[in-house]
């Protein structure tokens, strides 16, 4: 199984737009939406049938029992995450380290502490299926942290039912932190979607540096390249200097917004400029990844 993740550093450069089109074009594949903070792939693949939906339990969270608590303030003093203030636990700040429970000095007659680590769902995971194709996704409960662990779970779920596909396509999240690191770990190929702007270039360099820690082979796709040709040239120069191949330049195309709003990948509108370019990109990517059954 070969895996490719689509990343960009900066948000809104067109990761999902490109991902859903590649998913549509590829055969013999499975796919996952690892942007658990703002998952959008499902808005395009609505007709998949949910075959497993489960609450996701990350690390346990602190729960305080006021009937046992003597208000000594020890937990509040030791918590490094400001998750306990004026004797009240703010579960969204709790990182699940367990320091409060460990150092809580009081117990009731059954030996239970006044503050205890207990299960708390931090999101929901879903495995969906259509015509033998697997689609794994999840959403993080609003305000929660630790989405890296949830990303790892989404990737694991993708392989839960079958693993004989040739390809796995993973839509990643913006940024360079925990969720992105979790989506890059152990992945052979990465498609960087770059936008020709000062922000797009700055962020592309940071995500490329992040990917280097994982020995992932990167390719660049410049999206809306004709919105700023000077910045496109700048991306090309940086790519050359860093030895990254640019495998496509997608023109700005108003039809992309139209297709998104219709809930279809742009490649379903075959005569559009963006669709023609994405078809080319897919052919090059399949070749570079040595995919044979495409």
């Amino acid at each position: 199984m070969k895996q490719v993740v689509i990343l960009s550093g900066k948000g809104g450069t067109g990761k999902t737009t490109l991902a859903v089109s590649l998913i549509k074009l590829a055969k013999n594949k499975m796919f996952a939406d690892c942007d658990v903070d703002a998952p959008n792939v499902k808005l395009i693949f609505e007709d998949f049938e949910i075959i497993e939906e489960k609450p996701y339990y990350g690390l346990k969270k602190a729960f305080k029992y006021d009937d046992i608590c003597i208000d000594c303030g020890r937990c509040e003093e030791l918590c490094r995450f400001n998750a306990i203030r004026d004797g009240v636990v703010n579960i969204n700040h709790c990182e699940g380290c367990g320091v409060c429970e460990r150092f809580c000095p009081v117990t009731d007659d059954k030996g239970r502490k006044a503050i205890r680590m207990e299960d708390d769902a931090s999101g929901t995971t879903r495995i969906e299926k259509l015509n033998n194709e697997i689609f794994s996704n999840a959403n993080l409960k609003i305000g929660n942290g630790a989405s890296g662990k949830l990303v790892t779970e989404v990737r694991k779920n993708m392989y839960k039912l079958k693993t004989d596909e040739e390809l796995a396509i993973i839509d990643g999240s913006p940024g360079i932190g925990c969720p992105v690191i979790a989506s890059l770990t152990g992945i052979q190929y990465c498609l960087l979607v770059a936008e020709p702007s000062v922000s797009g270039i700055h962020d592309m360099i940071r995500i490329f540096q992040t990917s280097k820690n994982f020995n992932t082979k990167c390719f660049i796709v410049i999206n809306k390249y004709d919105n700023n040709l000077e910045k496109t040239t700048e991306i090309e120069e940086i790519a050359k200097e860093k030895g990254i191949e640019i495998i496509g330049r997608i023109p700005f195309d108003k039809k992309v917004v139209e297709s998104t709003n219709k809930g279809v990948p742009i490649v379903d509108m075959p005569d559009t400029m963006a669709s023609i370019e994405i078809n080319k990109i897919w052919k090059i990517l399949a070749k570079r990844m040595d995919l044979v059954n495409q």
Binding site: D37, N92, P196, V198, V257
Partner: protein, 278 residues
């Protein structure tokens, strides 16, 4: 006053709105909390910024004192400690700096040292005070940097907080204590889906909020209906405009370059200030 600018989805124009609002506001402070990919200072350039390192605490072990009881290994929820080959090993990248291992070690073989994860840069871009955080490449969480960025905020000034994308704890951390939350909506199916997540987050706080539709191509009906249905005050629609796009992609602040564009942001800021004062 503290105005937080957020969107859920990336690339909707949070930084665009934030730097331009900072440009038109008097006595303004721009704070970039998108520490994974900070872009604000590409627009609000700060000559010779002051740099403050942001460090977290991680344990180090005195191998002579460690007797291999492994209590710390069993306690650590993040698998940052392991006892291999007769020696305690510490994996800094996995450590969440909770301090538990050091506190509980029966041999007192662990102590904490500082480890750098990023920095806060501050200074002035003309009259605008600029503070931006930057997480080091390869680090997992920028929350300590966001905390540092938001400490000792001067509430008499107009603080504009450029939030990270998403709806996670980092966003929550960024909007805490805000006087107003500005939701930037991209009028697409994706944009509306994601703004809804952020809207659910904002509702948890008792903070007034309103929205701006960005890159309006004359087809923002669904976004407008979303605002109406949820009783979200729609402050303005910023049209999709090639010149705005060009200026912005080249790192210019459009409110500074063009009088007509400046009025857009003055209008939005005026409406926000009015609502906060009520």
């Amino acid at each position: 006053m503290k105005i937080s600018v957020l969107s859920g989805k990336g690339g909707t124009g949070k930084t665009f709105l934030s730097v331009n609002l900072a440009q038109v506001a008097k006595d303004s402070v721009y704070i970039d909390c998108d520490v994974e990919e900070p872009n604000g200072n590409l627009f609000l350039k700060v000559p010779n910024p002051k740099i403050d390192m942001v460090d977290v605490l991680v344990p180090v072990v005195d191998q002579d004192k460690c007797n291999g009881c492994k209590e710390c290994v069993e306690f650590c929820q993040f698998n940052a400690l392991a006892y291999v080959g007769g020696e305690l090993k510490i994996f800094n990248e996995l450590c969440h700096s909770c301090g538990g291992c050091t506190l509980l070690c029966p041999q007192k073989a662990l102590k904490e040292v500082e480890r750098n994860i990023g920095k806060v840069e501050s200074g002035f871009s003309n009259e605008i005070k600029v503070k931006s955080g930057e997480l080091n490449i390869g680090e997992a969480t920028g929350v300590p940097i966001i905390e540092k960025l938001l400490e000792d905020m001067d509430s008499h000034k107009n603080n504009i907080v450029d939030c990270p994308p998403g709806s996670s704890c980092q966003v929550m951390e960024s909007i805490k204590g805000s006087d107003y939350c500005l939701l930037v909506i991209e009028p697409t199916k994706f944009g509306i889906h994601n703004i809804n997540l952020v809207y659910q987050l904002v509702k948890l706080f008792d903070i007034p909020y309103g929205a701006v539709i960005n890159k309006d191509m004359g087809d923002s009906k669904v976004a407008e209906e979303f605002c109406k249905k949820n009783n979200i005050n729609l402050l303005d629609k910023i049209p999709y405009n090639e010149e705005i796009g060009k200026l912005n992609s080249n790192g210019y602040i459009v409110a500074k370059e063009n009088e007509e564009f400046r009025k857009i942001f003055e209008n939005i800021l005026g409406k926000i200030q009015e609502e906060v004062q009520q």
